[in-house]
């Protein structure tokens, strides 16, 4: 559709994210769910703002709005953010980004699809966007336009997850540890995990394994520390002196002691493994210096992943996500275009009706005015003049109407032009209800003629 103005929508987004603002500023702007209702209602009273929703996560605070006057709305929203951050407009300005129309829709789609996330592909953001929509719906600050945008954003996000592998592989060290253990065991139900040492990382990995059905045991040189961690993750405690016994019962070992020399030596594990009769043992060594003597992999059924292995896998997965993100971006691009065509198609029928009413109304009005000074004319002549005005208006309407109806997909820019040229306000671009949705889908997506 080169050479034609692209279809537009009056959506704007203004906000800060991990890309533009330090956490200190994001903290000050963040809105807790309890205050969301009041904040949204306040934002909706700002000049130029017709609909508004607010997305507040630890990585971003963004206001999505439908503007009757884009510039005024952006100015007012910016000033509001500055006030809440306790900053001057000029101070907050460099941290803010504003997107309008197509770019705003695209931004929403990218955010929902986790393409703008700190960890690309992380799954939480979609839920957070849904919460933002729900809270705004509850505050009654979203109207048909934003509601449609959000609904579509969820669909796009689902498609991105389905059609790309952007979220397939874990990128955190603890989930990678779980994934590698999966290579050996497949199913963690009935498996025993022994946590040797009590660090933060072992805590996360242990929790992840327990949530998949494994039973946990903790052991530590200082028993008190072991009991602390055990209480936190609902685990049994084993005495450090009985390490060999505990190892004999374990399927997976998470080691993170602060010891200077390997705690899990080849000699110890050889003894343990003999008693286990070849049952597999997966050792996750997240300690530095390492807790597991590297040569234990020569023992039958013993597998080791150390912190380097875990980080290497995590980095590989992250790189994989970035390459999947390229494909995801093109999906988003395609969906934005499709969405705006749908919206354009949805504007078609009311625009045609409004244009007809406008033209024919003008013709009849002018004819009446003209006839007011010609009282001597017979009824027949008066009717002929009205008919002439009517016919002229309809003749003039014929070609523009054909052009608009020719192809709903191509006509969207014309629709916008017609609405601007004749100042047509009556046609709500996004009527609510199932029927409007269905009609617009066929008109916009399939490019068929709008039934009217």
């Amino acid at each position: 559709m080169a050479g034609k103005a692209p279809p537009t929508i009056d959506v704007v987004v203004l906000g800060v994210s991990h890309r533009t603002a330090p956490v200190a500023l994001r903290e000050r702007l963040s809105v807790v769910p309890d205050q969301m209702d009041a904040t949204l209602r306040e934002l909706k009273t700002l000049p130029g703002v017709r609909e508004v929703a607010l997305l507040s996560t630890c990585n971003r605070v963004e206001i999505y709005a439908v503007a009757s006057d884009t510039d005024a709305a952006l100015r007012a929203l910016g000033a509001d953010l500055a006030r809440r951050a306790g900053m001057l407009d000029a101070e907050i300005e460099p941290h803010l980004y504003a997107r309008t129309e197509r770019d705003a829709v695209k931004h929403l789609f990218r955010v929902a699809s986790s393409l703008d996330s700190l960890v690309v592909g992380e799954p939480q953001i979609l839920g957070q966007v849904k919460t933002a929509r729900d809270l705004a719906a509850k505050a009654e600050t979203v109207g048909p336009v934003l509601a449609t945008c959000f609904e579509r954003a969820f669909r796009v996000a689902r498609r991105v997850r389905r059609d790309t592998e952007i979220a397939r592989n874990p990128v955190s060290v603890s989930s990678v540890a779980v994934e590698l253990a999966h290579n050996v065991f497949g199913d963690f139900h009935g498996k025993s995990v022994l946590v040797v040492g009590a660090g933060k990382m072992s805590d996360l990995a242990a929790r992840a394994l327990r949530s998949r059905g494994a039973a946990l045991t903790v052991t530590n040189r200082t028993r008190a520390r072991a009991e602390e961690l055990a209480a936190a993750v609902q685990a049994d405690v084993a005495d450090f002196a009985d390490l060999a016994d505990a190892l004999g019962r374990a399927d997976i070992v998470i080691a993170s002691t602060g010891a200077q020399h390997p705690v899990l030596t080849r000699e110890l594990l050889a003894r343990v493994q003999r008693a286990r009769r070849g049952r597999s043992l997966f050792l996750i060594d997240i300690a530095v210096p390492r807790d597991v003597e590297p040569s234990v992999t020569e023992l039958e059924g013993v597998y080791v992943a150390d912190i380097d292995d875990l980080q290497k896998e995590a980095a590989k997965h992250l790189a994989g996500r970035r390459s999947e993100a390229v494909q995801a971006e093109s999906i988003v691009e395609e969906e934005v275009t499709r969405f705006l065509q749908t919206v354009g198609g949805r504007q078609l029928a009311p625009t045609v009706t409004a244009m007809r009413t406008h033209f024919i109304g003008l013709a009849h009005g002018e004819a009446e005015k003209f006839l007011a000074g010609l009282a001597h004319l017979s009824e027949k002549d008066r009717n002929a003049i009205v008919a002439f005005a009517d016919a002229l208006a309809k003749k003039l309407l014929h070609l523009p109407q054909l052009a608009l109806k020719k192809d709903a997909g191509e006509a969207v820019s014309l629709v916008a032009a017609v609405r601007a040229l004749f100042d047509l306000q009556g046609a709500d671009p996004l009527p609510e209800g199932e029927q409007g949705e269905a009609v617009a889908e066929t008109a916009g997506v399939e490019g068929r003629e709008e039934p009217s």
């Binding site: 592989n169 994934e179 590698l180 999966h182 290579n183 050996v184 065991f185 497949g186 199913d187 009769r277 070849g278 049952r279 597999s280 992999t297 020569e298 039958e300 059924g301 597998y303 080791v304 992943a305 292995d309 896998e313 590989k316």
Partner: protein, 260 residues
């Protein structure tokens, strides 16, 4: 070669390529689809041959074709439940090779009068070999993955592999299923030979008979070690391969004698 045979060989070849492709990055779906087509064509082919009096146990080539079919079908069924895509890279080519062999090998002339015993023996031996074949494929995959994990090539197993425990468990199941079948096959085989009255002196020590017994012992040891001694993993995989190697040798020797 009939059109059906050509088609099924083609489908097996395609499935083999696609499954090998899976190891280097292809999705597993195309391979599974091709193998499903191959198995269905194969089933049709076996049915057609039955109509012409060449049932699966009427001759060595037919039995080999039947083993190939059971291997591929068994693998497919297993892979529906457990993600066994990497095993397809072994199962599909093995089925293809067996079928090719079956189609180029001439049916032996003057096969001995079979009788119920003979039929039972050959049918059970055929099914037993197929089940052991599947166990062997799983053992091979186990050994490959075991090596990859010890070498810390984790991503390969994560992306393309099957959890070691799953492979081990399935292989164990195949062996405990195949063993009784194989046992009855050996017993009926011995009875059959005795009935035919060809067993005099040195003939009793024909290499394939001895080998069959040695193979049976290997599987018996494996089964006892697994069930009683809790043996598993790498050692069990090697013993499975040893036992299967014995089975193959029995068949090869048997075939060579009959061809000579």
């Amino acid at each position: 070669m009939s059109t059906l045979t050509a088609l099924e060989l083609g489908a097996y070849a395609l499935a083999s390529l696609l499954y090998l492709g899976f190891l280097v990055g292809l999705r597993d779906k195309p391979g599974r689809l091709a193998l499903t087509v191959a198995v269905l064509l194969h089933l049709g082919d076996i049915g057609a041959r039955c109509v012409h009096g060449m049932n699966p146990i009427s001759s060595t080539p037919e039995a080999m074709s039947f083993i190939s079919f059971l291997l591929a079908a068994g693998y497919l069924l297993g892979s529906l439940r457990y993600g066994l895509a990497s095993a397809g890279a072994f199962a599909a080519p093995a089925a293809l090779a067996l079928l090719l062999l079956a189609r180029v090998v001439p049916a032996e002339a003057g096969a001995p009068a079979m009788g119920t015993l003979g039929y039972t023996h050959i049918l059970l031996a055929t099914v037993g070999v197929a089940v052991f074949f599947i166990a062997a494929v799983l053992a091979v995959v186990y050994l490959f993955q075991d090596r990859q994990l010890r070498r810390k090539e984790f991503a390969r197993v994560t992306d393309r592999g099957t959890p070691l425990d799953t492979l081990d468990r399935l292989a164990a199941r195949c062996v405990s299923l195949g063993f009784p079948i194989f046992t009855v096959a050996i017993v009926t085989g011995a009875m059959w030979i005795a009935r035919l009255g060809v067993l005099h002196g040195a003939a009793a020590l024909r290499p394939e008979y001895v080998l069959a017994v040695v193979t049976w012992i290997a599987f018996a040891v494996l089964l006892v070690a697994r069930l009683g001694g809790g043996w598993r993993g790498r050692r069990a995989a090697w013993l499975t391969l040893g036992g299967f190697g014995g089975t193959v040798l029995v068949l090869v020797v048997y075939f060579l004698r009959h061809a000579a």
